[in-house]
């Protein structure tokens, strides 16, 4: 199992990470709004994360830290 950490305040809710994830681990938090006014990404199925870092690879704002 891998661990994901997000700098949620810097997230712009673009969703590129959500699409990049092969295991459908991520989703934009529709019930949350960060300081920038975006729905930040969150892990909704972290147990399925394989630590491939595809999400971080596609994140334009470098907000995702991946540990394995």
């Amino acid at each position: 199992m891998a661990k994901l950490t997000f700098k949620s305040d810097k997230c712009k809710g673009c969703g590129l990470c959500v699409d990049a994830c092969p295991k459908q681990v991520l989703a934009l938090a529709k019930d949350k709004i960060n300081k920038k006014g975006h729905h930040p990404v969150e892990a909704v199925n972290e147990d399925a994360c394989i630590g491939c870092a595809f999400c971080a690879t596609m994140c334009p704002d470098c907000i995702i830290k991946v540990e394995r």
Binding site: A2, D9, K10, K12, G13, C14, G15, L16, D19, A20, K36, H38, G51, A53, F54, A56, T57, M58, C59, P60, D61, C62, I64, K65, V66, E67, R68
Partner: protein
């Protein structure tokens, strides 16, 4: 074990780019390469005019803000004064292929030992979506509202193909950052473009096909698809010149 984190040479500040803009990905790739080559302390970066004008705030190495299109000339000055430092420019399509075309071509002709990261997103982003020298035929922009009419305003410029005719150019590659596989390939190319400079091989330019969701009027996801559907067919990815690999030295 940390598999992925922000590279050291990328500043820990929010980027001003629009949601889903791939400038941020390319910034990170450049920073990762600077980290991996261990050259942050001796790197001087040169920012353009355009969306990435404030790149000088986003890299932790020393930075210079150049006039529009003049980054290769500024880089020439820096590199001639500091030949042991690593000098890179980060430029958009309007900056590099329109107003700064002469500086680009002649830096290549001189085989300046610099690295150029060229963002081609086929539009002027900072000023709100006008036609770029790389806008596609029939592409609708603010200044080509009926689509780019090549009979009226000419054809897009294919920078890698054009520069491949310059004897001085060492390494030219076009990459894209619209999916994980392409991003990884883009990083490899950027690393080679910096490594070439470390080894004194000379002018190395990586053209990065990028997205501009805001001014293309698309979602970030759709913009990445548009790169596959429209941009890459017009701007094929690949190595356009690699003089050392061909043994042309």
């Amino acid at each position: 074990m940390v598999v992925f984190d922000k590279p050291h040479s990328l500043a820990d500040v929010p980027l001003h780019y629009c949601p889903g803009c791939t400038h941020g990905i390319v910034h990170r790739l450049v920073a990762e390469v600077i980290d991996e080559l261990g050259v942050e302390g001796k790197t001087v970066g040169i920012a353009p005019v355009g969306c990435s004008v404030m790149a000088y705030d986003y890299f932790n190495c020393d930075m210079i803000e150049a006039a529009h299109g003049r980054a290769p000339a500024v880089a020439t000055g820096v590199k001639r004064a500091l030949p042991d430092n690593i000098v890179f420019t980060y430029q958009g399509d309007g900056d590099l292929a329109s107003i700064g075309m002469a500086e680009t071509v002649h830096a290549a002709a001189r085989n300046e030992n610099i690295t150029i990261i060229f963002i081609n997103n086929a539009i002027y982003g900072m000023t709100g979506g006008q036609m770029a020298p790389t806008s596609l035929p029939n592409q609708v922009t603010q200044t080509s509202p009926y689509g780019r009419d090549v009979n009226h305003c000419g054809f897009p410029i294919k920078v890698c193909e054009m520069l491949s005719q310059i004897d001085g150019a060492e390494y030219l590659e076009r990459v894209a950052v619209n999916n994980v596989k392409n991003v990884k390939a883009a990083k490899k190319a950027i690393k080679k473009a910096f490594q070439n400079q470390v080894e004194g091989k000379g002018f190395s330019l990586v053209e990065v096909i990028s997205s501009c969701p805001t001014n293309w009027g698309m979602t970030p996801q759709k913009a990445l698809e548009w790169i596959d559907e429209k941009m890459i067919p017009y701007y094929p990815l690949g190595v356009y010149k690699d003089r050392s690999a061909k043994g042309e030295e």
